[in-house]
C-alpha cells in the first residue's frame, strides 16, 4: 500500500485543522451537557457528538462514548441522504433506528446536514443522547426481555425530518410527547440535542467560509491518509497471528439456558497492515432485547481493537481503512432484521464482543490488549421510576458501577462502567440523586477482594443499597456478569461477579434475576453489586509494594495478598521481602 507523502505545508494545516474540528465537537458537547434536562444527559453525560463528511466519513467524535461513535454514524448519515433527495439548510432529522445505523432506540439522535452558501451538502453533524425514557412498553430504556421491536414499544425514527427551515415539525413532536413518559423533560432534552447540532453546523459553516470548502475537504482527506499511515505503523508493531477468544453472556429471557457464548476471531496481518475480526460464527438473533444493532456489531470489536493498540492513532475513516469486521445477517452480534429487538444493544452483548477482542490481543503479546472489563448494567445503574406525591419520575441513575480491566501498564480504571463506555459517563452525587428523586441511598462502597488479581489488577466491585422514600419504586436493569464475571488475561484472574437483591423490611435478602423490573416498597431496599474487572498478568508478578498498598488501604485482605499474590508481611504490614521471594519461588 502507498500513502502519498503530502507537502509539509499541508501537514501543518492539517495539525491545526484537527485541533479546530475537535474544538467544534467539544463545543457541541458542552451545549448538550449544560442545557439538557434529564439526569442521564446533564449528570451522567450519556451522549456523543460527531462530525461526518458529506460522503459519510467519520471525521471526529472527540470526548464521546466509543460504542456510540466508532461505526454506525456513517450509516445514519447515508440513510438521511437516501431518504431525502434534497437537503436544505434548516433541515434537521431525528434518528433512533437500529436498523439504519443507530445504536439502539433509546439513543435519540439529531442529524443536521451542513449546507454551504451555494446549497452544497458539505458535512453532517450528529448529536446523540440516551433518553431518560423513549416510550417503551415498560418504564425503562433497557427492554432486555422484549421479544421484538413491537414488545419494546418505542417509536422508531429512521432519519425523520423534524425541522424544516429551522422550524419544528410539531406533528412529530406531539407524537413523541404522547408516547414518552415525562414529555417536558424529553422536550428539554430534544432542544438541547438540536441546539448542540446547530452549534456544530454554525461552526463548520464559519470554518468552510474561512478556509474554502475545497481546501477544507483536501485537508480532511489528508488527515485520513495520515491517520491511515499511523494505523499502518501501529499494526506493523504487532506480531502476526490469528486467535479465537470467547466470552459468555449470562442466561436472560430468550437466550439458551446456559447463556450466549460469543466467539470473536481476531487476525492481525502486519505485512498487509490489516486487522480483521470475524463475528459470523455466532448464534442467530434471539427473541429478546439484547441483540446488537449493526452499529454496535461494528463498533464493539473496534473498541477492543483501539483499546489494544497505540492510543494516539486517530479514530476516523482513515485508520478504519485498516480494519475489516465480518458480520452475518440475522446474527445476534451481526446485522439484525426488523423486527428483531436491539433495545439493549450498547452494553451487554456488545461487551461480550469487545472484551474477547482485547483479550485476543493480550494473548498475542505481553504489553498488548487488556483483560475483560466487568459486565453491566447492575441495578445500581438501572432506570428507577414511580409516582411520588402524584408526580411521575423516571430516570437512569449512576450509583456505583465499576469494572475497569487490568491493562499492560495500569490497574483497572475504577469507574469504567463497561468496556464500550470507557468510563466517559459520570457517577451521580448521592445528594443530587436524593434531591432529584424520592430515594435514600444508604450506602455506596467498594468491596474488598473483588478485584481480578493480576500484575495489573482489575477494579473492585461496588456495593450500593438504596430505598424509595414515601412511595414505591421500580428498578429496571439488565445485569450481566452474575455468572460470567470478567476474565483475566496472561495469567490474570477473574473479577468478582455481579448480583442484586431485594431487601425486605425485616432485613431478609431476596436474590433477584439478572434481567428484571423489581418493585421496591417503602421500607425495603435494593442491593446491587457491580462486577469487578479482570486482571492482566499473573498476580505473583505484581509489585509487592503495590500489593502492600492495597492491603493497607483495605482493598485486598492480607490472606488474599499472601495466597493469591504471594506477598508476605511483617506484623506492621511491611513487605517481608525474603518470605515473599520464597513464597513466589524466587531466589531470596
Amino acid at each position: 500500500m502507498t500513502v502519498v507523502r503530502p507537502h509539509p505545508t499541508n501537514r501543518i494545516r492539517v495539525a491545526v485543522l484537527t485541533a479546530r474540528l475537535d474544538g467544534i465537537v467539544r463545543k457541541m458537547a458542552n451545549t448538550l451537557h449544560r442545557t439538557g434536562r434529564s439526569g442521564i444527559l446533564t449528570i451522567a453525560r450519556d451522549f456523543s457528538c460527531i462530525i461526518l463528511t458529506a460522503r459519510h466519513e467519520l471525521v471526529t467524535a472527540a470526548d464521546s462514548l466509543p460504542i456510540h461513535t466508532l461505526r454506525g454514524p456513517e450509516v445514519m448519515s447515508r440513510t438521511m441522504t437516501e431518504n431525502h433527495e434534497t437537503l436544505r439548510r434548516g433541515d434537521a432529522f431525528l434518528h433512533n433506528s437500529p436498523y439504519h445505523g443507530c445504536t439502539h432506540p433509546a439513543d435519540h439522535s439529531i442529524l443536521v446536514p451542513v449546507i454551504d452558501d451555494d446549497g452544497v451538502h458539505r458535512f453532517t453533524v450528529l448529536a446523540k443522547g440516551h433518553q431518560a425514557d423513549c416510550g417503551n412498553a415498560l418504564p425503562t430504556t433497557y427492554m432486555g426481555a422484549a421479544k421484538d421491536v413491537y414488545a419494546e414499544g418505542a417509536l422508531i425514527f429512521p432519519a425523520v425530518k423534524i425541522q424544516s427551515n429551522f422550524e419544528h415539525q410539531m406533528d412529530i413532536v406531539r407524537m413523541c410527547q404522547l408516547r414518552i413518559r415525562v414529555p417536558e423533560q424529553w422536550w428539554g432534552d430534544y432542544l438541547a440535542t438540536l441546539g448542540s447540532a446547530r452549534v456544530g453546523e454554525r461552526e463548520l459553516l464559519a470554518l468552510g467560509r474561512e478556509l474554502g470548502w475545497e481546501t477544507l475537504d483536501d485537508h480532511i482527506q489528508e488527515w485520513f491518509d495520515y491517520s491511515e499511515a499511523r494505523m499502518v505503523s501501529a499494526i506493523r508493531a504487532i506480531p502476526k497471528g490469528r486467535l479465537t477468544r470467547s466470552s459468555r453472556h449470562d442466561p436472560f429471557p430468550g437466550t439458551p439456558p446456559d447463556g450466549v457464548e460469543i466467539k470473536a476471531t481476531v487476525e492481525v496481518d502486519p505485512e498487509a497492515a490489516l486487522i480483521e475480526v470475524d463475528l459470523r460464527d455466532n448464534p442467530d438473533c434471539m427473541p429478546n432485547g439484547i441483540n446488537l444493532s449493526e452499529a454496535c456489531s461494528r463498533s464493539a470489536p473496534m473498541v477492543g481493537i483501539f483499546n489494544s493498540i497505540d492510543h494516539t492513532v486517530p479514530k476516523n475513516e482513515g485508520s478504519f481503512r485498516r480494519i475489516r469486521i465480518h458480520l452475518r445477517e440475522n446474527c445476534a452480534v451481526g446485522i439484525p432484521r426488523h423486527p428483531t429487538s436491539c433495545s439493549v444493544a450498547t452494553t451487554n452483548l456488545a461487551d461480550r464482543v469487545a472484551n474477547p477482542v482485547q483479550c485476543a490481543f493480550a494473548e498475542l503479546a505481553d504489553g498488548l490488549g487488556m483483560a475483560e472489563a466487568g459486565a453491566c448494567i447492575p441495578a445500581s445503574s438501572g432506570v428507577i421510576s414511580g409516582v411520588h406525591d402524584g408526580l411521575p419520575f423516571v430516570n437512569e441513575v449512576y450509583l456505583g458501577c465499576t469494572g475497569g480491566a487490568g491493562t499492560p501498564s495500569t490497574d483497572g480504571w475504577l469507574t469504567i462502567m463497561h468496556v464500550g463506555n470507557a468510563g466517559m459517563c459520570y457517577q451521580d452525587s448521592i445528594e443530587i440523586d436524593e434531591l432529584r428523586h424520592p430515594i435514600l441511598v444508604h450506602s455506596r462502597r467498594l468491596m474488598p477482594d473483588t478485584e481480578g488479581a493480576g500484575r495489573q489488577r482489575g477494579a473492585l466491585s461496588a456495593y450500593s443499597r438504596f430505598s424509595p422514600l414515601g412511595c414505591e419504586m421500580t428498578v429496571a436493569y439488565v445485569s450481566d456478569g452474575n455468572q460470567n464475571s470478567a476474565k483475566g488475561v496472561r495469567g490474570g484472574m477473574a473479577g468478582g461477579p455481579s448480583s442484586q437483591f431485594r431487601e425486605r423490611r425485616d432485613g431478609a435478602l431476596e436474590a433477584q434475576p439478572g434481567c428484571a423490573e423489581v418493585v421496591v416498597g417503602p421500607g425495603e431496599a435494593i442491593v446491587s453489586i457491580s462486577c469487578g474487572g479482570g486482571g492482566y498478568g499473573a498476580p505473583r508478578e505484581r509489585s509487592p509494594a503495590l500489593v502492600a498498598d492495597d492491603v493497607r488501604e483495605g482493598w485486598i485482605s492480607r490472606s488474599r495478598a499472601e495466597t493469591i499474590y504471594g506477598v508476605m508481611f511483617s506484623d506492621d504490614l511491611e513487605v517481608d521481602k525474603a518470605a515473599t521471594a520464597r513464597s513466589r519461588g524466587l531466589p531470596a
Partner: protein, 710 residues
C-alpha cells in the same frame, strides 16, 4: 492555633516612622519560573522587577525580588522595606504542596455507608482509548477514612442521630495515630450542620490543637464529593500553609517590613495572611486569579466590554475572562489534569491553564505530524537557546530563530541567548525530518502553539457563552507579545492590548485588588412560589457576616460594596449559573420578576437558548464583601533614564518570508505615535511582534494597543 502565630500587627496600620508620601505598596506573584514584583509609590508611579523563583524555599525568591527593587531604588533592603505599607502576595505554594504530596496526614470523617466518596469522585474520563493514565488515588487514603454513625436527610431531618460514643472512640484512635489534621464531611450537613458541629466540638476536646475543617463551614454547597474535597484540602493545608505564612511574615519583618501582609485568593481578592492561614483552601488558585484583575485595571472602559486575558509564562498559558467588568467564577477547578485528578470544589476565578509556554518542546510523531508540548524543557535545561544543555527545540527557540526575540537583549540584556543553538535544535529535530527550512519549521511550531492557545481560549469563552470575535484580547506574561497578533487574528478580535505591566500582569492585579471575603449559603426556592421570607433571612445572615468581616478589616480599609449573587437553574437542570442580584433584599414581587428576567438573559447569553416561560429555581446565595486598601488605580511605570533605541532587524513571517522590521522600545514610545507592522516593540521584559498589516500605538494608560486588521 496556627493563624495566631502570624503577627496580629498585620491588621494594624503603620503610620510611622515614614510620612505618607514615603509609603510603598508591594505586590509579589510567585510563578513557576519567575517571581514578579510590582511596587506602587504614593506619587502614582510603579516599578516592575523579576527574580528567579526558588521552588525549595519560595520565601527566598520573595526576598530576592525585593532586594532587586531596593537596589534599583539605591536603598538598603531594611530601609526600603520599612517604607512598605502593604505587601500582597500571590503564591503557588499551596498547589505545589498538593501536587508534590507535602500536605498534612489527614483523617477524613464521613457518613457511615459512604466511605469511598473521595474514591468514586464524580466519575468521568478523558481520552477514551488512553489506558496509560492511571486512576487517581483518593486525596485522603482509605486507611485514614472513618465512617460516622449518623444520617441527615435532604430536608434536614435527622434519620439517624449522631452516635457520640462512637465518635469519641474514633477520635481516641486518631489521637493515638500520626494524624496531623482532620476533615469532616457528612451528607446534607449544608442543610443541617448539627452533626458536623457536634463532631467539631468533640475534636476540640479530644484532639486539642489538631487543625480540623467542617465541610458546611468551608464550602456550604451541595454535591458531597466536591464539598469533601474542599474540606480535605483545607484541613491538609492548614499545617503547611500556616507555617509558610508565619515564616514569610517573620522573614519579611526581620528584613524590615512593618506593614500589612495580604494574600491573593482563588476568588480574585486578597485576605489577611492570618485569615488565609486558617482557611488555606482559598489559596489553591492564588496565582492565576489576579491576571484578569490586572487586565481590568488597564482597561477602565472594560465595564462595557469583554476582555479575554492570556497570561503566557515559561511553562503554562493561563486564560481568563473579564465580562462587563465582572470576573466569572467556576466551581470546576482541577488540581491536575481534568478527570485524572481531583476537583477543589471551591468557587474560583474561571481560568483555563494549558502546558504551552516558552519552554514547550516541539516534536514529530511516527506519522511525521508536528506536535508542540505538553512536554516542557522547564527552567532546566530550558530552551536550546539558553545554552544550558537543552537540545530539543522549544517555542522560545522558534521565536529566536525567527528574529522575534533579540538574543542580545533577552530580559533586558541580563541573559544572552544562543541563536545558533536554537536553529540547530530546530534543524535536527524538525526541519530536516520534514524537509523544510529552519524558519518554516519555526513558524510552524509557533502556529501550532498558537492554535493550542486559541483552543484554550475557546474552551473558556464557550463556557461563558462569549463570541471571541467581539472581545478585546489582553496579552500578559513574559511571552505574551510573541503571538498576540496571531492569536487575535485567529480569534477575530479587532483590538489587542498589551498592558504596560504585561510581563507581571498578575502582580499588577494584586497591587490594586480589594480585600474580599466570600460567603455563601444554600437555600432552595422557586420563582413559581418564591419564599421571600426565607430568602430574606439567608441574605440577612450573609450580610451580617460581611459586616463582621468589614469591621475587622482595620482602619486602612475602606468599604466598597457587597456583591450579591444567586446560583439558579431551570427546573430539572443539573447545573446552575451565577446571576448577580440587583438588590440586597427581596422587598417586593417585582424584585423576583427582575431576578427571573436576569436569569433568562444570562442563560441566553451563555447557552444561546432560554426558556422564557419557565419558572426558575435558586439553590445557592452568596455575598462578596469588598474593602479597598490603597489605590484601585494602577500607576504608570517610571521609565529608566535614557533608554537607547534598537536597530531594525530581519524577521520571518509565514505570509511574507524574511522581511525588514522596525524595532522600537516600548518605554520610549510616545502616545500618538503609530508603529506599522512589520515591527517589534521591545521592553526589558517582553518582545511584542507586530505582524505585517497590524498597527500599534500606546494609549493613555501606557498600554500598547494593536489594531490587527490589514
Amino acid at each position: 492555633m496556627i493563624a495566631t502565630s502570624i503577627s496580629e500587627k498585620a491588621r494594624q496600620p503603620t503610620r510611622e516612622p515614614f510620612s505618607a508620601a514615603a509609603r510603598l505598596r508591594f505586590a509579589i506573584d510567585t510563578g513557576g519560573t519567575f517571581t514578579d514584583l510590582i511596587v506602587g509609590s504614593p506619587e502614582g508611579g510603579i516599578g516592575m522587577h523579576k527574580a528567579a523563583t526558588t521552588p525549595a524555599d519560595p520565601a527566598a525568591g520573595v526576598i530576592d525580588v525585593l532586594q532587586i527593587a531596593a537596589d534599583a531604588a539605591g536603598m538598603p533592603l531594611y530601609d526600603y522595606l520599612g517604607r512598605g505599607e502593604i505587601l500582597v502576595h500571590g503564591t503557588t505554594h499551596a498547589i505545589n504542596a498538593i501536587v508534590t504530596g507535602r500536605t498534612a496526614r489527614t483523617a477524613f470523617l464521613t457518613t457511615a455507608g459512604h466511605p469511598d466518596t473521595l474514591m468514586f469522585r464524580e466519575g468521568g474520563r478523558q481520552d477514551a482509548f488512553n489506558f496509560t493514565v492511571p486512576y487517581p488515588a483518593p486525596f485522603v487514603a482509605k486507611a485514614r477514612t472513618f465512617e460516622i454513625e449518623e444520617r441527615i436527610l435532604r430536608d434536614g431531618s435527622v434519620r439517624q442521630p449522631l452516635d457520640k460514643a462512637q465518635v469519641v472512640a474514633l477520635l481516641r484512635r486518631i489521637a493515638a495515630s500520626d494524624t496531623e489534621a482532620v476533615a469532616v464531611c457528612l451528607l446534607w450537613s449544608v442543610v443541617n450542620p448539627e452533626h458536623e458541629l457536634a463532631v467539631g466540638s468533640l475534636i476540640e476536646h479530644h484532639l486539642p490543637g489538631v487543625p480540623y475543617t467542617l465541610s458546611h463551614q468551608i464550602n456550604p454547597s451541595i454535591r458531597e464529593y466536591r464539598r469533601a474535597m474542599s474540606t480535605a484540602l483545607d484541613a491538609s493545608l492548614k499545617p503547611i500553609m500556616g507555617a509558610y505564612m508565619s515564616g514569610l511574615d517573620t522573614r519579611l519583618r526581620e528584613a524590615g517590613f512593618k506593614g500589612r501582609l495580604l494574600v491573593v485568593t482563588s476568588q480574585g481578592g486578597v485576605m489577611d495572611a492570618a485569615d488565609v492561614a486558617a482557611a488555606p483552601v482559598h489559596l489553591i488558585n492564588s496565582g492565576p486569579s489576579m491576571a484578569p484583575v490586572g487586565a481590568r485595571a488597564c482597561r477602565p472602559s472594560g465595564d462595557v466590554e469583554v476582555l479575554i486575558v492570556g497570561d503566557a509564562g515559561g511553562t503554562t498559558f493561563d486564560v481568563s475572562v473579564v465580562r462587563n467588568g465582572r470576573i466569572p467564577r467556576t466551581r470546576e477547578t482541577w488540581l491536575g489534569r481534568p478527570f485524572a485528578s481531583h476537583m477543589t470544589g471551591m468557587p474560583s476565578v474561571d481560568t483555563k491553564s494549558i502546558g504551552a509556554g516558552g519552554g514547550s518542546i516541539a516534536w514529530l510523531d511516527s506519522g511525521g505530524l508536528l506536535h508542540v508540548g505538553p512536554i516542557s524543557a522547564g527552567a532546566v535545561p530550558g530552551p536550546a537557546a539558553y545554552g544550558r544543555g537543552g537540545l530539543r527545540p522549544t517555542i522560545t527557540d522558534a521565536a529566536v530563530a525567527l528574529g522575534y526575540i533579540d538574543p542580545e537583549h533577552f530580559l533586558g540584556g541580563r541573559m544572552r541567548l544562543d541563536r545558533a543553538a536554537a536553529e540547530a535544535a530546530i534543524r535536527t529535530e524538525i526541519a530536516d525530518a520534514m524537509g523544510v527550512s529552519v524558519e518554516f519549521a519555526a513558524a510552524s511550531m509557533l502556529e501550532l502553539a498558537n492554535e493550542h492557545m486559541v483552543q484554550a481560549i475557546l474552551d473558556i469563552t464557550l463556557n461563558q457563552g462569549i463570541d471571541p470575535a467581539s472581545t478585546i484580547y489582553v496579552a500578559g506574561g513574559g511571552a505574551a507579545g510573541l503571538n498576540c497578533v496571531a492569536i487575535g487574528r485567529r480569534l477575530g478580535c479587532e483590538t489587542i492590548v498589551v498592558p504596560e505591566t504585561a510581563a507581571a500582569l498578575a502582580a499588577s492585579g494584586a497591587l490594586i485588588s480589594d480585600l474580599t471575603a466570600y460567603y455563601q449559603a444554600m437555600f432552595y426556592t422557586t420563582s413559581a412560589a418564591f419564599n421571600m421570607g426565607g430568602v430574606d433571612a439567608v441574605l440577612k445572615a450573609l450580610e451580617l457576616r460581611c459586616r463582621a468581616f468589614q469591621a475587622m478589616t482595620g482602619p486602612d480599609a475602606e468599604f466598597v460594596a457587597i456583591d450579591w449573587t444567586t446560583e439558579a437553574r431551570y427546573p430539572d437542570q443539573a447545573w446552575e449559573i451565577e446571576v448577580p442580584l440587583r438588590k440586597r433584599r427581596f422587598d417586593d414581587p417585582s424584585d423576583v420578576g427582575a431576578l427571573v428576567e436576569d436569569f433568562h438573559k444570562a442563560h441566553q447569553e451563555i447557552f444561546a437558548v432560554s426558556d422564557p416561560h419557565s419558572p426558575i429555581e435558586t439553590v445557592g446565595w452568596s455575598a462578596t464583601v469588598r474593602c479597598r486598601i490603597g489605590s484601585s488605580v494602577l500607576g504608570r511605570i517610571q521609565s529608566a533614564l535614557s533608554e537607547r533605541e534598537f536597530a531594525n532587524r530581519r524577521v520571518y513571517f509565514g505570509a511574507t518570508g524574511w522581511i525588514d522590521a522596525r524595532v522600537r522600545r516600548f518605554e520610549t514610545l510616545s502616545p500618538g505615535v503609530v508603529v506599522e507592522g512589520p515591527a517589534i516593540v521591545e521592553s526589558s521584559f517582553t518582545s511584542i511582534v507586530i505582524d505585517p498589516g497590524a498597527r500599534a500605538h500606546r494609549d493613555a494608560s501606557g498600554a500598547l494597543v494593536i489594531t490587527v486588521s490589514e
